[in-house]
Amino acid sequence: MNSMGIALAILGAACASLFAGIGSAKGVGLVGEAAAGVVSVDPNKFSKVLILQLLPGTQGLYGLLTAILMLSRIGIIGGNPAELTTAQGLMFLGAALPIAIVGLFSGIAQGRAAAAGVGITAKKPEHNGKGIIMAAMVETYAILALLVSILLIYNIAI
């Protein structure tokens, strides 16, 4: 059995959840700081800023979803690991890269956009929705990356 192939595929799954998770953690953390600043002055705005804080958290979920799909596809979750060549392992690793890399950077960027949106909520709470929309625009690229990763995972012949 060529263990290198399966090891590379597992590395891919790990990268997907690891980097996208880091991006989300950084993004959510940044918005959390900004939100705490507003809530310290006006606790009534908690629910409004919470929505903004949740936005950069999705990249972590996309990373998790990619990792689960990949682990399922290679049989790790079912307890029956597939026999993968090194080339196939590399393909799975490559399939994980879109969401891993885009998840990392878009999580951070979305965190910055959402933290700026917290500023809108702080000063003009009635325009909270605009802040959410602007931060949500960043999400598009994370979704595109997730889509590419999923398409790749399901189209690698094993």
Partner: protein, 311 residues
């Protein structure tokens, strides 16, 4: 310090900006029929941060690095230096002449002069404190030592802006310096002060060269005005001649306009500085309204004297 470090502080400040007095609040205060109505309107609008010291403490508690904010209090620090120095020399207590908030406690200033040990003072003030003490004890010329301290405050601001700040802080230091130098040059020319005095009293900046300003000031008031008219701050020259009060207002408004440029920033120390400037202008406006009402000034006069609002 990364700009994102200020995410919490900036958001808190933006929430507080919504509590600043607006134009309509000011109009209500000006139009209050009785002093009791005025007082009740003021207390209704009052927030937790009533004084600048409260604002300062709040900003320091939010800012990850308060050194970047210290520039805001340099003028107060150097004013307090003047107050303590003069009080020590004349054997009085300086407490009544102190401005708060400040970066340096009054006890530290008193201790520095009592022990003649300026090393306990921060770097930006150490040399000035020694020089001013020497100057005052040797010449007993309070005006000269005051001028030395005032120009040193401006230099300290310029240096701090260069060391810690970006474009915003540098512009802030420049505006403060330009306004102070213009005023000093004009007054000195009126009082026919010597070159030696001007060299001590003027700070100079990239826009108003010190040597040119000294030469203009030695040539008389018309020479100063004519020199200033040909600089980028030319529109202020006539105000300086016609109405010192309007000149002061123009300077304050320019600082508020600068603060407004920081309003759009989501991160960084600038929104905090802008909030302090806004609060400073608000407190000044309340004082103007209160004093004008007491002296029986009409609504038009009060409105004319009010500083530009940040909100």
């Amino acid at each position: 310090m990364g700009r994102a470090e200020y995410a919490s502080a900036v958001s808190a400040v933006k929430a507080m900006e919504s509590l600043l007095l607006t134009q309509s609040d000011m109009e209500q205060l000006i139009n209050a029929r009785t002093n009791a109505e005025f007082e009740s309107l003021v207390s209704a609008k009052e927030t937790e941060n009533k004084t600048l010291s409260d604002v300062w403490e709040m900003l320091k508690s939010y800012a990850p690095d308060s050194r970047e904010l210290e520039i805001l209090l340099y003028r107060n620090d150097f004013h307090n230096l003047k107050a303590v120095l003069k009080a020590m020399i004349s054997g009085r207590e300086p407490e009544n002449y102190i401005i708060e908030p400040s970066n340096i406690g009054i006890d530290v200033l008193k201790e520095a002069f009592r022990t003649k040990d300026s090393d306990i003072l921060p770097d930006y003030m150490r040399e000035t404190a020694s020089e001013a003490y020497e100057l005052l004890t040797k010449t007993l010329d309070g005006q000269l030592s005051d001028s030395l301290i005032d120009s040193s405050a401006l230099r300290a601001m310029q240096k701090s802006a260069e060391d810690f700040g970006g474009d915003f802080m540098q512009k802030y230091a420049e505006l403060i310096t330009v306004c102070a130098d213009m005023k000093t040059a004009y007054r000195c020319s009126k009082m026919e002060k010597s070159r030696a005095f001007l060299e001590t009293a003027l700070c100079g900046s990239t826009v108003l060269d010190k040597e040119s300003l000294i030469r203009a000031s030695l040539g008389g008031t018309d020479s100063v005005i004519s020199f200033l008219e040909h600089t980028q701050y030319g529109e202020m020259a006539q105000l300086l001649k016609e109405s010192p009060a309007q000149f002061e207002k123009y300077c304050d408004d320019m600082i508020t306009e600068l603060a407004e440029t920081a309003r759009m920033q989501a991160f960084g120390v600038e929104p905090l500085i802008a909030y302090y400037i806004a609060k400073e202008a608000e407190i000044r406006n309340l004082r103007i309204i209160s004093v004008c009402r007491e002296s029986g000034a009409d609504i038009e006069t009060i409105t004319e004297r009010l500083r530009k609002l940040y909100v």
